[in-house]
Amino acid sequence: MYVAVKGGEAAIDNAHALLADARRGDRSVPEIGTDQIAEQLALAVDRVMTEGSLYDRDLAALAIKQARGDLIEAIFLLRAFRTTLPRFGYAEPVDTGALRVRRRVSATYKDLPGGQVLGPTFDYTHRLIDFALAAGVEPPPPPEAPVAEEAARMPRVTDLLAGEDLIEREARPADDAPVADLTRAPLAFPADRDLRLQALARGDEGFLLALGYSTQRGYGRNHPFVGEVRIGTVEVGFVPEELGFEVPLGEVVVTECQMVNQFVGSAEVPPQFTRGYGFAFGQSERKAMAMALVDRALRADELDEERTSPAQDEEFVLAHADNVQATGFVEHLKLPHYVDFQAELDLVRRMRAEIAERRERDANKEAAE
C-alpha cells in the first residue's frame, strides 16, 4: 500500500547533483565521449541496444554514459526514450542469408561453403590481462587476405542440412499473416514462437545464459550443436506509404545463431534434427546462443517432449526474462513502505500479545487444578 508522503525534495535534488558529480568523477581525468563509448565499448553498446530493444548506437552510448556504465539502467533509459517516439511502421524482415559476414563459424561442418571465418573474436585468446592496453599501445593494422569469390556466398548451415531433409524446415506462412508484437499487446500465454522470440530477443542475457546452461546440464536436455553463428551487416528495407516501394533505411549489424538439436520423428516423418534460433542486435554472440538454447527448450510441447524443467516453462521464462520489469519490481522494495510495515508491525505485536495472553491463561488454569 502506498500513501502519499511529502518531503525530501531538497534531498532528492541534492542527491541528483551528487550523482552528476560522481558520474563525472575525478576532474583531472578527461571526460569520456559518447563516440569513445560507441567505438571502444562497442559490445556494451550492442547489449544495451539488444535488451533496450532499440537500434541506435549513439543513443545507447549516451545511455551508458548517463548510467555510469550500469547496463540495466542504460537499457531502462533506452526503453523510456522509445516511449516518446511515434511508431512509423514495420520494416521488411532482414535477410540474414545476405549478411555481409564479419564472423561465421560452425561446430557441425568443418568445410562448409564460404568457410569458417573467425572475425574479431575473444575465442582462442588466453584471457590474460593485456597491460599493453593500459599503456595505450596502438595495435598494428590487421592483416589482409585476398577475398575468395566463394566468400560472398555463405549459405546457412541449416540450408545445407535441409537439402537432404535431415533438418526440420521452418514454416513460412504468407508474409501478411499477423505477427505478434508485445510492445502493442501485453504478453499472453500460450505464446506463439514469434512472440517468444521477440520476448527472448529483448530478454536479459544473464537470465537466458543461466537457463540455456541449465538445459545443457540436464534440465530439459536437448543435445545442441551450434549449426552456425554468423555476425554481419545487413540492409533494412521499409515500404513508406507515400512511395509504395521498398526503400533502404540503412544498414544494421546483427548476430544470428542456428542451434541444431537432436532428432524428432514420427510414424509419418523419419527422424530429423530440430532447431533453436537466436537473434540479437550488434555483435552479441553469447546472447544469441543462449537465446537459441532457450527457444529450443520452449518448443517442448510442440515437439511432444515432457516439460520437466524451468527452461521449458514458457510462462516462467517469458514472464521473468525482461530485466527492466525485473529491476523495477525488485528495486521498488527500497521505496517507502512505511504504512505497509506499520500494519505488519501492529499485526505481529497483536499475535505476540495473544500468544502471551493464552500462555498466561493456561498457566493459571494449571495452577488452579
Binding site: 530493444s53 549513439d58 524482415p93 540474414t96 564479419r102 569458417q116 589482409e144 566468400a151 510492445t183 522470440l197
Partner: protein, 152 residues
C-alpha cells in the same frame, strides 16, 4: 510493395540513389548538393521527424517473421519549386541529414544523371571500405589441415 513498381528501371535507379544517401555521411550529402548547385526554393512537405520502425527477423532465418526490436528512423519530405517531391527515411536521428537526402531525391527526379554523378563518390568510398573490411575478415578464415596419425 507492388512488383511492377520496384521492377521499373526508374524506381530501381531512384532506389540506388536513395541507398547511397542512406549510407552517406552528412558532409558527403553537403558535397553532393554543392556539386549540383543548391535548389532555389525547397518547401517542407513534412518537417524532418524522428520515430520508430520495428525491425523484423525470420524464425530460423528463413521462416515466419518476428519482431526483433525497434530502430530510430528519421523521415523528411520536401518539394522543389519545380514541383518534384523528394523523400528520405533513414536509420538514426539526424534530421538535417534526412532533409538533405530528401532534397537529393527530389533533384534526382528532375536530373537523374547529374545526381547519380554527384553521389558517385559516396559509392566509391563505401565500396572501398567494404572491400577493406572483407580483406581483413578473409585473413581470419580458417585453413584446416589434417594431422598425420601416429599409427600410419
Amino acid at each position: 510493395m507492388t512488383p511492377d513498381a520496384t521492377s521499373s528501371p526508374d524506381i530501381a535507379a531512384r532506389r540506388a540513389a536513395m541507398t547511397l544517401c542512406a549510407l552517406a555521411r552528412a558532409d558527403e550529402l553537403d558535397a553532393a548538393l554543392a556539386t549540383l548547385g543548391p535548389p532555389d526554393a525547397v518547401a517542407d512537405l513534412r518537417r524532418p521527424e524522428t520515430g520508430l520502425v520495428m525491425l523484423r527477423g525470420r524464425v530460423g532465418g528463413d521462416g515466419r517473421p518476428f519482431n526483433a526490436g525497434e530502430a530510430t528512423v528519421t523521415r523528411a519530405a520536401v518539394r522543389l519549386s519545380s514541383g518534384e517531391a523528394g523523400f528520405a527515411w533513414h536509420l538514426g536521428r539526424d534530421a538535417a541529414r534526412a532533409r538533405k537526402a530528401a532534397i537529393l531525391d527530389a533533384l534526382f527526379q528532375a536530373r537523374p544523371d547529374a545526381v547519380e554523378a554527384a553521389l558517385a563518390p559516396i559509392g566509391v568510398r563505401v565500396a572501398a571500405e567494404r572491400a577493406a573490411e572483407a580483406r581483413r575478415v578473409a585473413a581470419t578464415k580458417v585453413d584446416f589441415f589434417t594431422m598425420v596419425r601416429g599409427e600410419d
